[in-house]
């Protein structure tokens, strides 16, 4: 054994930085979860701060917390309902385009927003939706309507998040589906044509079943981020006016923890949401294996 380890010393040396980084930035923070059960503040170490039992979980009795949970679930649900099938539909549409040049163009353009930060997207929303001179409101007033304060409204917040999320990622998320479509055996289509199947029938009976395994993989992979509904996306757009619907678990943790210094409470909430994510992954993987005989592991 020792001889073997010596033989592979270079490989161990190469892996070492990664092992150390993971230890420092993943494993120690995992041990840091004990802060959820401790009275911690900056100046103490996580090891010598006193245990307080479940005191930090008193947020469970806080009405505000349940509003935040409801907001999180709403946004997660809406983003999932619209965000999951949309790229599949788009991939099917792009696949139907006969003109190769146009097809390439659509793909290139639709991937583009993926490469901009959510901050840039927030600016785009601001420039389009703001009250003074925003394009959409100019349009509404020109038609004789009343301008809408989209960025500070509680009714428009969720649609805004869903639409901007779609806009940013729909194209990018088609890449895998388009690749899956190209790997479908062309003979299947030929056979279907001989049988007299039209384009729609081919789409339904060949293309769609052909990409189902990919769909299920993407589904599993999307689970961990389901509850983490995009601090990246929501935080920049949140303001006092829309906070009643915009405040989600991530922003709540941020505010309580980093901004107000309630480290224990914020860690406890984080622990809860990490646990839910983990369960979601394990659960979807199991379902996928039952249905398709194929999971991630």
């Amino acid at each position: 054994m020792l001889a073997k380890v010596v033989k592979y010393r270079w490989q161990y040396l190469m892996i070492a930085p990664a092992v150390v980084l993971l230890f420092l930035f993943s494993y120690i923070p995992m041990a840091g979860i004990q802060v959820a059960f401790k009275d911690f503040h900056i100046g103490l170490t996580i090891w010598n701060s006193p245990w307080v039992g479940l005191e930090n979980f008193s947020f469970l009795q806080d009405d505000q917390f349940w509003v935040v949970v409801r907001n999180t679930l709403w946004i997660a649900l809406l983003k999932f309902i619209f965000g999951f099938p949309a790229p599949i539909l788009l991939a099917l549409l792009i696949n139907e385009v006969r003109h190769t040049g146009f097809k390439r163009f659509v793909q290139s353009v639709s991937y583009l927003p993926h490469f901009f930060s959510w901050i840039v997207v927030a600016y785009i929303l601001q420039s389009m939706l703001t009250l003074d001179g925003g394009l959409v409101n100019q349009f509404i007033t020109n038609l004789g309507g009343q301008p809408i304060f989209f960025l500070g409204s509680t009714e428009w917040f969720r649609p805004m998040i869903v639409v901007s999320g779609l806009w940013k990622e729909i194209g990018w998320n088609t890449i895998l589906y388009l690749a899956a479509i190209t790997s479908i055996d062309p003979q299947l289509y030929e056979a279907a044509r001989v049988e007299g199947a039209g384009r729609l029938a081919q789409m339904r009976h060949i293309t769609f079943p052909g990409i189902l395994p990919t769909v299920s993989i993407v589904l599993i992979l999307s689970m961990p981020s389901l509850i983490a509904v995009g601090m990246d996306q929501i935080y920049p757009l949140m303001n006092p006016a829309n906070q009643p619907v915009a405040d989600v678990l991530d922003t709540y943790i941020l505010r309580n923890g980093l901004q107000q210094g309630y480290f224990g409470t914020a860690t406890a909430i984080g622990l809860l949401s990490s646990a839910i994510s983990l369960l979601l992954v394990l659960f979807t993987n199991r379902i996928s294996r039952k249905l398709n005989g194929e999971g991630l592991w």
Binding site: M1, M14, P17, P29, F40, G133, A266, S274
Partner: protein, 298 residues
């Protein structure tokens, strides 16, 4: 091939739908560019939709003349370069080391990496750790914690395992050690993969605003995206640019009245986005390749 009438209507419908999608993506950029190239006070009257009506480079002059923005830009460029090199290096080395199937404890090490993808301590314990390591309020908070990516490592690992064993074995027979194998076989053969992953890492660094907003309070360390995030909710121009000499110099030029908060914002956001818009057409295929190698099974 001749299309039937119904197929032709189908094609037209699809082309219209997809064109609308393209317009919805491209138009906001053209609009923001037009506003940023228009005299601010004039744009505020509305009616600028596609082209600047009163063309000026003044908004860009103001933005680029601002020391805070220039400094933020410098930080962004620095962290993107250093962060990308560090990220690729650590990730490639780990993937290469783990690609040796005979490596003792290989399964354990793979598990060690995999677990971190499934479960994390969450933001607060992570922050406390950054604090304990004195990374809070340091430039290195941008580089070190993200130098290894488990996800990219697995992509890289899969790619390396796709390199024919015979190639590596024959090199080893000729007496090449692991370093030699890495340098003369794996790296040259992985260039497309390294390019794709490098681009992903670079874009991540370029676009990240979160670390700058929460792990750093020194204004000299914030990157451009964090500056933009502060600017997003600004109420008037002076909060943006500060009351430094710069503004006075501008006021003396009596042009200050021509800029508006919106025109300044649009110029700043364009400056953060233009580099990506410029390189995107050339790099796009690498990105796509990266995603495909990384995720398609079988």
């Amino acid at each position: 091939m001749k299309l039937s009438a119904s197929e032709r209507t189908g094609q037209i419908l699809i082309i219209v739908l997809l064109s609308l999608l393209c317009v919805s993506v491209l138009y906001p950029f053209l609009y923001m560019l037009a506003i940023s190239l228009n005299v601010g006070s004039d744009a505020a009257n509305g009616g600028v939709y596609l082209w600047p009506r009163k063309f000026t480079l003044y908004n860009f002059q103001v933005v680029l003349g601002n020391a805070v923005i220039r400094h933020a830009y410098l930080i962004t460029i620095l962290r993107t370069i250093i962060g990308t090199i560090a990220g690729l290096l650590v990730t490639l080395l780990a993937a290469f080391g783990l690609s040796y199937r005979g490596l003792p404890l290989r399964g354990t090490l793979l598990g060690y990496v995999l677990i971190t993808m499934l479960f994390s301590g969450g933001l607060i314990p992570f922050y406390i750790q950054l604090y304990n390591l004195s990374l809070v309020n340091s430039f290195w908070v941008y580089i070190i914690p993200s130098a290894f990516s488990a996800w990219n490592m697995f992509v890289m690992l899969k790619f390396i395992q796709g390199i024919p064993d015979a190639l590596i074995e024959s090199a080893e027979l000729d007496g090449a050690g692991p370093l030699r194998v890495l340098g003369s076989i794996v790296v040259p053969l992985s260039q497309p993969m390294l390019a794709a992953l490098g681009l992903f890492v670079a874009v991540m660094h370029w676009n990240d605003w979160f670390a700058g907003a929460f792990f750093v309070s020194d204004q000299n360390l914030i990157p451009v995206q964090t500056f933009l995030q502060h600017l997003l909710s600004a109420q008037d121009v002076s909060t943006v640019l500060g009351s430094n000499n710069n503004i006075e110099a501008l006021a003396r030029g009596s042009m200050l009245e021509n800029i508006t908060l919106m025109s300044i914002k649009m110029a700043t956001v364009m400056i953060s986005a233009i580099p990506i818009l410029c390189v995107y057409p050339f790099l796009q295929r690498y990105f796509v390749k990266g995603v495909l190698i990384g995720s398609v099974k079988g």
